[in-house]
Symmetry: C2
Subunit: 340 residues, 2 copies
Amino acid sequence: MHVGIVGASGAVGEELVSVLARRRFPVTRIDLFASERSAGKTVTTPWGERTVQAYSAAAAGACDVVFLAVSGSFAEAEAPTLARTALVIDNSSAFRYHADVPLVVPEINADTIGDAMLIANPNCTTAVLVVALDPIQRAFGLERVIVSSYQATSGAGQAGMEELIRETGRVLAGETAANDVFQHPIAFNLIPHIDVFQPNGYTKEEMKVAWESRKILRQDDLKISCTAVRVPTLRVHSEAVTIETKRPVTPDEVRALLASAPGVVVVDDPAARQYPMPKTATGRDDVEVGRIRRNDVFGDHGIDLFLCGDQLLKGAALNAVQIAEAALAQGRLPGTQRAA
Amino acid sequence: MHVGIVGASGAVGEELVSVLARRRFPVTRIDLFASERSAGKTVTTPWGERTVQAYSAAAAGACDVVFLAVSGSFAEAEAPTLARTALVIDNSSAFRYHADVPLVVPEINADTIGDAMLIANPNCTTAVLVVALDPIQRAFGLERVIVSSYQATSGAGQAGMEELIRETGRVLAGETAANDVFQHPIAFNLIPHIDVFQPNGYTKEEMKVAWESRKILRQDDLKISCTAVRVPTLRVHSEAVTIETKRPVTPDEVRALLASAPGVVVVDDPAARQYPMPKTATGRDDVEVGRIRRNDVFGDHGIDLFLCGDQLLKGAALNAVQIAEAALAQGRLPGTQRAA
């Protein structure tokens, strides 16, 4: 299979190469694209040394499957053309809310891929949330979901992680922290501002969690809210989640349910100091879920949990590759015949 | 007034000296007490150089007012005796849930001080929360409150802050972070575990927020829950709060209400990137409250907000001194006559 990655020099782009290799995706040729500025760099891949090319629609469109790890505006401009000849999996938010574009987390709604040539990869905070919500929704129904996030600097890409490390070093050296990627200095600070503010007082990041969860879980009337906060960690998004189910539920039932659910791993042994943490969830495919307990605020319909998912994996590259795998399994990849 | 501070060499103890001075509390003499290990150290105070003394019940009991910034077990053993002769303001959790011990946030319930000789200072997460909740409760009633906390390392005292700084430096130097004060390495990590786990799956820290908010707000049936998470910041506790009121409410009403409430300052101008943050709330007496918005999860009874309060100030030393001020204003301080 001829695979293209656009935005190959970013944090998600690099992770895509690694995930494709690790999961033995049937790559016969890989083309790496980036902006003019990053072009020319040589990257060692499991399929040989590749030189990062300046993006061209013709070259990218010649691939069987193209992963877009670029801005929403770039995706908006390029994806429709690319999708005429290649299966396009877009990590940006540009098409996520289009009724005719599937928004896919394969554990949940791989069946919505259909014959789409353009598939949207969800927001990172949403992706790691819904793999935990879906089994609960199926078994007990969801009435209300209240999320507070603790989002890593990787959400702003490589530059975000570098800014955290650089500015933390400056603070430890007695200097004043500055900021470029983030709205304020992030070292030893929290910033309750991710993406742009909406007229309703929520940030777009917070609304993405609501909009995308409803679409992926196929429940338009789901009452769901989020407070999204940037925290000084590197690459795992954490979330404190309060759930009101439609039917009575117990923590033991949720624990048993999630223990056998795909994409999540239950880490919930407080006596042994085992619960989800960025430190343990980093580099892990499965989303860690723990601190599962009854929340009396919603009586016997209330469940609290805490989860940690690698923002660059399930929150981005891993889910994108899983979408390609699902499309492949459904015989949906253009060029499958050619590559086989 | 003859003032004693027990636990004077800790982070809260040091802050108590500074707050007493800054607020011009009528100190005529100050005695600083600590463990044998810390005794002998000389401290410069606005009332002259003082040598930290090894704690003795006789010397501490001779003060008019004694601030305890010590462990719960120490307070449990010593406070009842001290309270025979001195007004004792205890920062530990030892007596907070005793029906006959007032648990006081002066902006809210200074009237409960009465003739008590022992007054409990609340948990830090609770103190910074209730100053924002109280005006909303009075105007609109509280039905449900769901809190997710982002708690600074100062909650574990000076040693907690030192561990964050030391271990962060080690990570930046390419070494592996260790931990001594916290349950896991805190550098670039989050730990959803503060204080000990309870049989219901919540930590004691989380239950303190529920128990103490109900007592301070005098609403035994308040439905309130908390997820408490340690984050790699220094001295400000932040909280994402979702509120269901008893009567319909709008964000503008809450903003106006809090703008004139004591102990809080509204920082809520997203267009100007103004919202509560540890960076701006550090060293500030008032609790910053912002991100005030309608939460549709509870329809026109839903309000979300984000708040940041200095854990060592309103979360500890400031509130303790305010309790002493309130007792003084009520003519309740033993020795007021003597000192005047």
